[in-house]
């Protein structure tokens, strides 16, 4: 009888022990699960310390794209790594001359491996005095893999290195951050980076939302007839990409000596992007009832019934910083626009019944013009204003008709600027005028125009 409890007891003990073993195994499996599910790829790539550090003698023909370099901004990371390095160095050679300090700034250079992953190429320490010291490979290979990997993985705050700063980077690296993109320059002329740019008057721009703006602009600057050289007012919607507008006849007072383009009702669409841009527009005197438009000279009416334009542009950095000695334009962006314009001019007169009678149209060759435009703006200062803006444009036709125009704007204070613009046409156009005789012509002389103005910003 006594055997029964002892058998039960021993069975229970075995059972308990088995359970404990099973539970412990279970715990072990749970702990090991992540390792089993997520194997460490790096263990396949890196077996020895030599695999972590690049042998510079092995291959001197490194492609520029293989090299990755950066400066360590996270001071805790660099301090930690340099301390570990110095510990290993002093272990290896207690008498070593310690040129490198824990407080030095660290710069890391790595090589991308063809089969994936990276290896450490070199580590440099820059002292507070600016001395550049490369960390010894002999010491680095004696450091722990964990420390090398930590610095190589770049999971800390870092920054790009300017090639000119260091001098130790191979390859021809262009500091792309100094490259000018067209945005600042474009914004200054296309619309505004302000909420409101209220000019008296060549243009008014109200950015209703950051994406959309309402704009009013006198003249047809893009085809060479700015401000009061064209008796038109464009009113429309402007975005980052396009400007859709209605054209209405208008007159802008200014100093001039010439016969401006007359205005009619119409519309247009302009586009702009970093490289490509263009516009199309049309005007038609038939849109309105007779006598609705006041012409500059009802006996000699010249208006632009359609135009199309296509251009290519690029933007460069120009000028020198203000604190640099010597002469030169202030640091800014220069955008060059090269393109072609196709447009048509209609010549006619208003008869006694206020009807517009067409007498002639511009010839096909006259309708094609080359476009060359330069826009310059200084970099925005700490008050977010471009102190200077300058624009010059030349429209030149194959038959000699052409114009040159300019505008200069100087921001006086944060909310006020003064500007001046002008245009000069070096040639006129002869239109057939049947009223004078079958082959007789009327010579249209566009002349010159000048406009001072002021703008306020919000």
């Amino acid at each position: 009888m006594n055997n029964i409890p002892s058998t039960v007891s021993s069975t229970s003990t075995i059972f308990n022990q088995s359970k404990k073993i099973i539970f412990r195994l279970l715990i072990l499996i749970i702990w090991a699960l992540p390792i089993l599910i997520f194997p460490q790829d790096y263990t396949e790539l890196y077996e020895t310390m030599d695999d972590w550090i690049y042998d510079k003698d092995e291959d001197i023909f490194l492609e520029p794209g293989q090299i990755v370099e950066w400066g360590v901004i996270d001071r805790e990371q660099s301090r930690y790594f340099l301390k570990k390095y110095l510990d290993v160095l002093t272990d290896m050679d207690p008498m070593a001359n310690l040129q490198i300090q824990e407080t030095d700034e660290m710069r890391v250079k790595a090589i991308k491996k063809e089969n994936g992953g990276t290896v450490l190429y070199s580590v440099n320490a820059i002292s507070r005095a600016g001395a550049l010291n490369e960390l010894s490979k002999k010491v680095l290979v004696n450091m722990s893999v964990k420390d090398i990997r930590r610095i190589l993985e770049r999971k800390y705050e870092w920054d790009n290195i300017n090639n000119l700063d260091t001098g130790f980077i191979t390859g021809d690296i262009i500091n792309v951050f100094q490259e000018r993109n067209y945005k600042q320059c474009r914004d200054a002329f296309w619309w505004t980076h302000r909420r409101v740019d209220f000019g008296f008057f060549p243009r008014i721009i109200l950015r209703v939302t950051p994406r959309y703006a309402i704009n009013l602009e006198f003249g047809r600057e893009e085809i060479g007839y700015p401000v009061n050289a064209s008796r038109t007012l464009n009113m429309g919607l402007t975005t980052e990409v396009f400007n859709l507008y209605l054209t209405v006849p208008s007159a802008y007072p200014g100093i001039s000596n010439g016969h401006p383009l007359d205005g009619a009702y119409g519309g247009g669409l302009k586009f702009d992007s970093p490289r490509l841009g263009g516009s199309i527009s049309f005007q038609d005197l038939d849109f309105v009832s007779k006598g609705d438009i006041t012409f500059f000279d009802p006996d000699h009416i010249i208006y632009n019934d359609y135009s199309g334009q296509l251009y290519w542009s690029f933007t460069n950095r120009i000028g020198k910083p203000e604190d640099e000695p010597g002469f030169g334009v202030p640091l800014g962006s220069l955008r060059i626009i090269i393109g072609t314009t196709l447009f048509s001019l209609v010549y006619g007169y208003q008869d006694d019944d206020d009807e517009f009678i067409v007498l002639d149209r511009s010839q096909k060759l006259l309708a094609i013009q080359g476009l060359l435009r330069a826009e310059y703006t200084t970099d925005m200062d700490e008050k977010f204003i471009n102190k200077w803006r300058f624009m010059s444009q030349m429209n030149m036709g194959l038959t000699g008709l052409g114009s040159v125009q300019f505008s200069v704007t100087r921001s006086i204070i944060q909310w006020l600027s003064v500007s001046a613009s002008g245009a000069y046409f070096w040639s006129g156009v002869d239109f057939l005028d049947a009223r004078l005789g079958p082959e007789d012509t009327y010579r249209w002389e566009p002349g010159w125009y000048f406009n001072p103005s002021i703008s306020i910003y919000f």
Binding site: K19, V68, K155, W158, V176, F177, F242, Y306
Partner: protein, 419 residues
């Protein structure tokens, strides 16, 4: 037995606790990123300035090479969206890259700093200093809208390297531009040869611009169900421009023909006594929010807007094109051009995309002012081939349009095998 049970429970609890603890710790590095964010608190934009875009691509490539990560490299057709909080200074909230159809990879938190580095991060943050386009994608309730993305893209641009169809062809050079050819104008209610003109120009994902010339394509691609054969439009020389920005679409075109029209083959059909062409045309519409995904298994979208056009009436007299004030019926026009305007309404339906790339079926209905009603069904047997069937009903019988027409087209989409 109770003790055994208690021990068993205790051990099980400990195991579960350890397992859950581990999982929660492990999960910290993979927290689900916030996909739909509040537009009142964040700003989002796509990086369009090519050098900066390349820098971001390089930075992500470098990070993938340096670190064990599940991030995918940026593909050439991907858009890169940067998001910043309106309250935070000098740091990005998220960086996303990918396509609306396939979804986006989202990077946020410290990882953005690790990937971009300080200077690039600050450069990307200062969006007002480089070319960008504001994006509404992070604010939409659906992060992935493949069918709607297909509709938005295919009407204006293309995702394939080359798209050739009878009424429209685009040869892309890169992601930012391409060469465009159009025959007729579907949005104007006159596709293929019905418009009398064709277009050549350049196109980008947001705008297109070019010239209009008389249609030189003498191809019969359909059947006139009713109406008079020679009541057609002629062509002319002119220009066009159109934009597709955010939910807004706009188009403007003009044509003129005051000179020699001998190059216009349509004169053989219409005769030179009754020349009619569209001398200007405009359209503006809004992609309405009435968009539903999973509508009959696909997506449905409405577009409403306003359109106008003027038909110029001309005649050839002694080899010169002159104004005409008399119609074919002998009645006088008020002017040498007839102006039309009206509402534009279009509804598109696409079936569920196959492999998130193309729909088997695309059905469209459109009313273009007082011009026409169009119904179009496009069947795509494969990703590369599409066959559109178009039915046109002209609402008004005039000298230049009449009756009903059924037209068939063909569309081929090609990918560059070297990419």
């Amino acid at each position: 037995m109770k003790i055994i049970k208690d021990k068993f429970r205790l051990s099980l609890s400990i195991c579960l606790l350890i397992a859950f603890s581990f999982q929660s710790v492990y999960a910290q590095s993979n927290t689900t990123p916030k996909l739909n964010i509040d537009s009142r608190r964040y700003q989002a934009w796509t990086i369009e300035h090519e050098p900066y875009r390349l820098l971001v691509e390089n930075a992500i490539d470098e990070y993938i090479a340096l670190t064990e990560t599940n991030l995918e490299p940026v593909m050439p057709g991907d858009i890169i969206i940067a998001i910043r909080s309106k309250t935070a200074r000098n740091e990005l909230f998220q960086l996303r890259y990918g396509q609306s159809a396939q979804g986006f990879t989202v990077i946020e938190g410290e990882e953005i700093k690790w990937i971009l580095g300080r200077t690039l991060l600050l450069t990307i943050f200062e969006k007002d200093k480089y070319y960008h386009l504001d994006s509404a994608i992070p604010f939409s309730k659906r992060a992935v809208q493949p069918e709607l993305d297909y509709l938005a893209t295919e009407l204006f641009w293309t995702k394939t390297d080359m798209m050739i169809s009878m009424d429209r062809a685009i040869y892309r050079f890169g992601n930012t531009g391409g060469i465009l050819y159009e025959w007729g104008n579907e949005l104007a209610g006159r596709p293929y040869g019905e418009a009398g003109y064709m277009r050549l120009g350049i196109t980008t994902p947001v705008f297109k611009i070019g010239i209009q010339i008389p249609s030189i394509v003498a191809l019969t691609n359909g059947y006139q169900i009713s109406g008079i054969d020679n009541y057609k439009l002629n062509g002319g020389m002119g220009g066009f421009g159109a934009f597709s920005y955010s939910n807004l679409y706009g188009e403007l075109a003009f044509m003129n023909n005051t000179g020699d029209m001998s190059q216009d083959p349509s004169l053989e059909i219409t005769g030179d006594e009754f020349i009619n062409y569209i001398d200007f045309y405009g359209l503006i519409y809004l992609n309405l929010g009435v968009t539903t995904t999973r509508f009959l298994g696909g997506a449905f979208q409405m577009k409403t807007g306003f359109t106008f056009q003027r038909i110029a009436h001309r005649q050839m007299l002694q080899g010169k094109v002159e104004s005409r004030f008399i119609g074919r019926d002998g009645l006088a026009f008020t002017n040498d051009g007839t102006f039309y305007y009206g509402f534009f309404l279009r509804a598109d339906y696409v079936s569920k995309l196959i492999n998130e790339k193309y729909p088997r079926l695309h059905i469209m209905g459109q009313i273009s002012g007082t011009t026409s009603f169009i119904a179009k069904v496009t069947v795509n047997p494969t990703q590369s081939i599409g066959i559109p069937f178009t039915y046109i009903y002209y609402m008004e019988e005039t000298d230049w349009q009449s009756g009903q027409t059924l037209l068939v087209g063909l569309s081929i989409k090609l990918e560059n095998p070297l990419d």
